[in-house]
Each structure stands twice: as structure tokens, then as C-alpha cells.
């Protein structure tokens, strides 16, 4: 049974989604959820002009059919962003496979703002929204079960998309639109075509006892906490 949880701690909104998938469905399920979130948390590129005005580029979208799940999701038309997300999901899946656990793990997508600190302190990253996707990998015995799983996981992902949309449309806290000097504290401006809010993807693998064996923190964006 999958129970999705939503809570707020210190003005950071946290959403937890749970999915149970077969091994070969992990990639697509994670991509579907992460891309759906990023679709809503990406804007067009900002172009600042004189007099404190700026214009916003256009975000394109494209449908992605899953091969192992009866599901189609929409992602932002940005190959760069897609590569970054796919890389993160692939690492998560490898970690799941190599951990020797029962196939349980969690991948988190965290949106944060940077707060400049004076020297010698490094910039502070303040999360304002965290999406955690708990994954439970199941093993199936035969093709019939796999076929049923294709459809069931497709339905479940549909429910997750509805949950995500519901949270997004509560119109809770969003960072204020920044000035030109502060845009890199709010948005990831490294991509050529779109501009998502600053985010990081991390994952944890859980062993059979339910404890976190390794907290493998992988920062996949260029702006890190390094001094």
C-alpha cells in the first residue's frame, strides 16, 4: 500500500510519494515523477533588460512513452535537463541493484535557494520544497504478472501525477522573482533553453531492516556547498 505524505518543516514543504515497481520499471517510473515535478518548476530563460525589466523565454514540452509501463508523461523539452535527470536516475538504479538490499530506496528532489554569506562562511542552501520518492522493487515470476504490473504501475503513476499537480496548485511558497544579480541564487541558469529552480537530487538505499545503510549524497548540479 502506498501512502503519500505531505508536511512542512521550517517553511520547507515536503512531499513523500511511494511506488512499487519491477526492476526494469525503476528508470521510467522515476523519470516520470521527476520530470512531472520539474515541468512545473521550470520556467523559460530570463533575459534581463534595462530599467529592471526582464522577459521570459518559452518552455516547450514533449510526450514520453514508457517502454515497460503503460504510461506517458510530459517533460520539458530540454535535452540537457533530461540528460542530467537520466544520469541521476541511472545512478540510483545501480545503487539499488548493487546494494544487496531487498530493493528499497528513496530518491529525493530538493528545490532550494542560496543565501549569500559573508566570508569565510560558504553560501547557505535553504530548501523550500523537497519531493521524496520511496521505491520498492518487486520481483515478478512470469510474464502474466509483468503484464499486470505494467498496467498497475501505469495507473499508480497516474495517481502520483495527480498528487503532484494537486500540491503544485496549492500555490504555496515560491521564491520571489530575483533581480539579475540574484538570479543564480534562485534558478539554475546553466541550461541553454530552460531555467529550473535550483535543485539537487539525492538518494538513499535502505536495507532489509529498514535502516539507511549508506547515505550516498550525490550532488548533480554545478552549484555545490564546496568552499
Amino acid at each position: 500500500m502506498c501512502v503519500d505524505i505531505s508536511y512542512t518543516i521550517m517553511n520547507c514543504r515536503s512531499e513523500v510519494l511511494e511506488v512499487s515497481v519491477e526492476g526494469r520499471q525503476v528508470d521510467e517510473a522515476m523519470l516520470a515523477v521527476l520530470h512531472t515535478i520539474l515541468l512545473h518548476r521550470s520556467t523559460g530563460k530570463f533575459h534581463y533588460k534595462k530599467e529592471g525589466t526582464y522577459s521570459i523565454g518559452t518552455v516547450g514540452t514533449q510526450d514520453v512513452d514508457c517502454d515497460f509501463i503503460d504510461f506517458t508523461f510530459v517533460r520539458v523539452s530540454s535535452d540537457e535537463l533530461d540528460r542530467v535527470i537520466r544520469k541521476a536516475v541511472a545512478e540510483f538504479k545501480d545503487a539499488l541493484g548493487n546494494s544487496g538490499s531487498d530493493g528499497m530506496g528513496q530518491i529525493s528532489l530538493e528545490f532550494y535557494q542560496k543565501k549569500k554569506s559573508r566570508w569565510p562562511f560558504s553560501d547557505e542552501c535553504i530548501p523550500w520544497e523537497v519531493w521524496s520518492i520511496k521505491v520498492n522493487v518487486v520481483n515478478l515470476a512470469n510474464e502474466q504478472e509483468r503484464q499486470i504490473c505494467r498496467e498497475k504501475v501505469g495507473e499508480k503513476l497516474g495517481e502520483k501525477v495527480i498528487n503532484i499537480v494537486e500540491v503544485i496548485n496549492r500555490h504555496d511558497y515560491l521564491p520571489k522573482m530575483p533581480t539579475q544579480s540574484e538570479v543564480d541564487n534562485v534558478f539554475d541558469t546553466s541550461l541553454k533553453d530552460v531555467q529550473p529552480y535550483l535543485y539537487k537530487i539525492t538518494y538513499q538505499i535502505t536495507d532489509s531492516l529498514g535502516t539507511s545503510v549508506s547515505t550516498t549524497m550525490r550532488r548533480l548540479i554545478k552549484d555545490t556547498l564546496a568552499l
Binding site: 512531472t36 512545473h40 529592471g52 523565454g57 516547450g60 510530459v74 520539458v76 497516474g158 501525477v161 496548485n169
Partner: protein
């Protein structure tokens, strides 16, 4: 309410709502075209991409949406709805979902129109993009083609959900508060997908095709509250304009300002007036890639049940009748509906399909006169004709002539043609149903008899071994040789097995 809003804000808000409604229709209809949608991101604003989203405008869809709106805007008590239906090749149709853009009275007077409302509407469109791929109609629309097509209808006024059947579900896409009310976008979708009979849909209105089909005749012309739409056939050019934007194009060049210290942001919208756009109708085919509508039997083997088909169902399906006359007077007071069929169909392709009813093998046929001509039975030459119990069979009525006016119409009505000889119109449907191995009243052969009779069929000659030619001893003698050959080629066999794994 409105008095608190500045004239510029009011003007902006009306424009946002108008274009949001148009883009909503585009997203929904394009999501039901049956193909994957892809648009490109652009780092530079183009000025025509409302809400900073690349959503193409199918001109005909925009045209129909504007016709439905008839110069009004969605507001309190005035909802804009997009109804998605499925129509089978047999003429049955079924409402699948209804998307509703509504406004309630809850106002958010403090919200910034020019920034917050605009961005939230953009977010809502993204949510719509995501949700349109999740409802059950999406999968159906991706598989549309030979057996059914997906149609749409836009109407303005009161929301009508009765056609969705019992137990329909509702999903809310999102809400956006504005100073004049809260915009809500939701979808009600059918959960019971059992196809209803066409009779129940004689009272429903015409529906618009997702793909352009300008030749579809309105099958339901006696609807008091529905109004036919005028169409332009492809190539027909009334001044060359079938513009998604009628006489003025409003281009939103959005600039946002960062204004410290209050961080107030405003939009400077530049509207370009009087830009007349000419669209070639054939351009719309770019958005269309569905196969032709072919009437093929939806079932394999046996004889599908054929309810009594109104002939207009067939004609509407293949659009051999020219389009509705143009220049019809606009619709009266709401609910205003605008229906159009949007599909390119090659009529010749549609007519080439011949539906041949086939009965299963071994089904005994009745008399030659009654059945072999009207029912087109295969293996008719092999059927025993010893009996003529036609008069005892209430289900068999010989047709006057087997030749239909068109292959399509004849095939679809091969069952009902037998009733055309003056049978009174009843509420029940006479179906000559002959599944394979069914009991046939005309011949005294039931399943048990058949089974006993054919329980021990003779062995096929090709499988029999001529015993005199080879003895057991000879077989045994040749075995070592054969084994030696197989052992020599064992690598080949292993390689073959590996390829199978």
C-alpha cells in the same frame, strides 16, 4: 468587485482569461489527437507564446473555440466545456470525459494580475498538459483508428455531465484566484466504459472530430439545443481565411520588471492590432496522422451482434454527404454548442472496406435461399441442405435482394436488411447470431451429436507411415548413424539454443 480593479488590470485579466481558455482547448484537443505532442523550448521570447509555453494553435480548433465563446469569457455561471467522446465504426458513441473551465465567486483582491495570475495560469496549463495524459481517454485516443475515433465538442454555459454514465470520477487540475473570481479547471471522466447502444445516443448532440473531416453529416439534426456548424471543406476558400484569430491578433510581448525595494513586478503588454492571418486548411493535416476510418468487423470469428443500425450512422461515419451549408445563422442564447468534425478522411478508402460476415466453421446453414445469399456463409457448398425449416425459424427472414447500395452499407446492415421487408420497428433487435458450433434448429445435429460423429476422425494421410516400406529393425539400424551425425553437429545445436535464450 470590478471597481477595485484598475482599468489596465481589468483589461489584462480579461485578455489572460480569454487566451487561457483558448490554450486550454488546444491542449485538450491536441492530447486526444492520438499521437505524441512535441514542441521546442526557446530561450528568447517569441511574443506569441502565451504563458511562456510553446503550445501550437490548430486554427480550426481555435476557430471553434471562439465560436463557442461567441465573444464572451468564461465567468461566474458561464463555464466553458470541452467534451471528449468516442465513436465506433458501427456508429455507437460514448462520452468519455468533460473538461470544465469555470469561475466561482471567491475573489482574491490582493493578487497581482499582471504577474501572479499570469504565472499561475501558466502553471495551470502545465498541469493540464500532465493530467491530459493520465485520464483513461488518453490511452483510448492513442489507439484510435480503425474501430473508433475520438471526437470533441466545445460548449459554453452549464456543465453537462449526464452523458458520462454512473460513477464518473472528477479530477481537479487546479485553481487560480483572481480579483474577479477563482478560475477552476477540472475534468470529469467516465469510469464505466461499457459501450452504450446507438439508440441511447440518438438524443445526444453532434460531436466534433479531433481530426479534420469536413464531410461528416450531422447525424443528429433534431436536437433542439444543438446547432450545426458550418464547415469549410479542404480547398474551399472563402477569402482564404480560416483564421484561428479572426480579425485581430493579440501578441503578448511580456516583460517583467524587477522593482526594488518593493519587488513589484508588472507586465508590459504590447498588443498588435489587426493582424489578419491566412491559414491554408491543408496545414491542419500536419496535426493529423490518423489512419482512415475503416469499417471493419470489430470481432474475430463468428458473427458479431448487430443492433439495428440507423443508416445515418454509416453516412456520418464516412462523410460522403457534403458538409453543412455555410453561413448559417449563429447560435441563439446559451448553452451554445459548436460542433465540428475534425478529421481528414479519404472517402474512397472508407468505401473500399467490405464487411463480410462469416460464420464459424462447421456451423450448419439453413436453406440456400434464406442464408447463403443473405448471410454470405463460407463453406456453403459443404453444408447439408436436406432440410428446409425456415418457416420454423423465427430468426431467419430472407432478404429481397442481397445487393446493397454500397458495399459498406450492405455489409453493415446484412443483418438488418433481413428485417427491412416490412418488419415493424420494434424496441428489440433481431439479430441473426450464429456463433461457431451453435445449435441449429434447422438440422437435427447438436453439439453432442457432432462430437460423437467426429470423435474418431481418420488419420491424415500425410502423417501415416507406410508400414510395409520400413520395418522396426531397419529403424533401429539407422539410429546409430543418425546419432553420429547429430553428435558431430552438436556445436550447431548448442549455438541455436543459445540464440533462443
Amino acid at each position: 468587485m470590478d471597481s477595485d480593479l484598475s482599468p489596465q488590470d481589468k483589461k489584462d485579466l480579461d485578455k489572460f482569461i480569454k487566451f487561457f481558455a483558448l490554450k486550454t482547448v488546444q491542449v485538450i484537443v491536441q492530447a486526444r489527437l492520438g499521437e505524441k505532442i512535441s514542441t521546442c523550448s526557446s530561450s528568447s521570447p517569441t511574443g506569441s507564446d502565451w504563458f511562456n509555453l510553446a503550445i501550437k494553435d490548430i486554427p480550426e480548433v481555435t476557430h471553434e473555440a471562439k465560436k463557442a465563446l461567441a465573444g464572451q469569457l468564461p465567468g461566474i455561471g458561464r463555464s466553458m466545456c470541452v467534451e471528449i467522446s468516442l465513436k465506433t465504426s458501427e456508429g455507437d458513441s460514448m462520452e468519455l470525459e468533460t473538461w470544465c473551465l469555470e469561475m466561482n465567486e471567491k475573489c482574491d483582491k490582493d493578487i497581482k494580475v499582471s504577474y501572479t495570475v499570469y504565472n499561475r495560469l501558466s502553471l495551470l496549463l502545465k498541469s493540464l498538459l500532465a493530467i491530459t495524459r493520465v485520464t483513461p481517454a488518453y490511452k483510448l485516443s492513442r489507439k484510435q483508428g480503425h474501430d473508433y475515433v475520438i471526437l470533441y465538442r466545445i460548449y459554453f454555459g452549464d456543465v453537462q455531465l449526464t452523458g458520462l454514465g454512473e460513477g464518473f470520477q472528477t479530477v481537479r487540475v487546479g485553481i487560480v484566484g483572481t480579483p474577479i473570481g477563482t478560475i477552476t479547471l477540472s475534468c470529469a471522466y467516465r469510469t464505466n466504459l461499457a459501450l452504450m447502444s446507438s439508440r441511447q445516443f440518438e438524443r445526444t448532440g453532434p460531436i466534433m472530430g479531433i481530426i479534420i473531416d469536413h464531410f461528416v453529416e450531422r447525424p443528429f439534426t433534431n436536437m433542439a439545443h444543438m446547432h450545426p456548424c458550418s464547415y469549410r471543406a479542404p480547398g474551399e476558400d472563402e477569402g482564404g481565411t480560416y483564421a484561428g484569430i479572426e480579425d485581430s491578433q493579440e501578441v503578448c510581448t511580456t516583460s517583467f520588471s524587477t522593482s526594488p525595494p518593493s519587488q513589484l513586478l508588472g507586465i508590459i503588454c504590447t498588443c498588435l492590432q489587426k493582424c489578419v492571418c491566412c491559414f491554408d486548411l491543408t496545414e491542419v493535416a500536419k496535426y493529423v496522422s490518423l489512419p482512415n476510418q475503416m469499417v471493419v468487423p470489430g470481432k474475430e470469428g463468428g458473427v458479431p451482434q448487430m443492433p439495428a443500425q440507423p443508416t445515418h450512422g454509416t453516412a456520418a461515419e464516412h462523410g460522403r454527404i457534403p458538409s453543412c451549408p455555410t453561413g448559417q445563422s449563429p447560435q441563439p442564447a446559451p448553452p451554445t454548442s459548436c460542433s465540428s468534425k475534425v478529421k481528414t478522411v479519404s472517402p474512397s478508402d472508407a468505401l473500399e472496406t467490405t464487411f463480410t460476415r462469416k460464420v464459424g466453421a462447421f456451423v450448419n446453414k439453413p436453406t440456400t435461399q434464406a442464408t447463403t445469399t443473405s448471410l454470405d456463409l463460407p463453406f456453403a457448398a459443404f453444408a447439408p441442405r436436406a432440410y428446409d425449416l425456415q418457416e420454423n425459424d423465427p430468426m431467419v427472414h430472407p432478404p429481397p435482394s442481397p445487393a446493397p447500395s454500397s458495399p459498406l452499407q450492405g455489409s453493415l446492415h446484412s443483418n438488418t436488411s433481413s428485417h427491412s421487408g416490412g418488419q415493424p420497428q420494434d424496441d428489440f433487435v433481431m439479430v441473426d447470431f450464429k456463433p461457431a458450433f451453435s445449435k441449429d434448429d434447422l438440422l437435427p445435429m447438436d453439439l453432442g451429436t457432432f462430437y460423437r460423429e467426429f470423435q474418431n476422425p481418420p488419420q491424415l494421410a500425410s502423417l501415416s507411415i507406410d508400414v510395409s516400406a520400413q520395418s522396426m529393425a531397419e529403424d533401429l539400424d539407422s539410429l546409430p548413424e543418425k546419432l553420429a551425425i547429430y553428435e558431430k553437429n552438436i556445436d550447431e545445436f548448442d549455438a541455436f539454443v543459445d540464440t533462443l535464450q
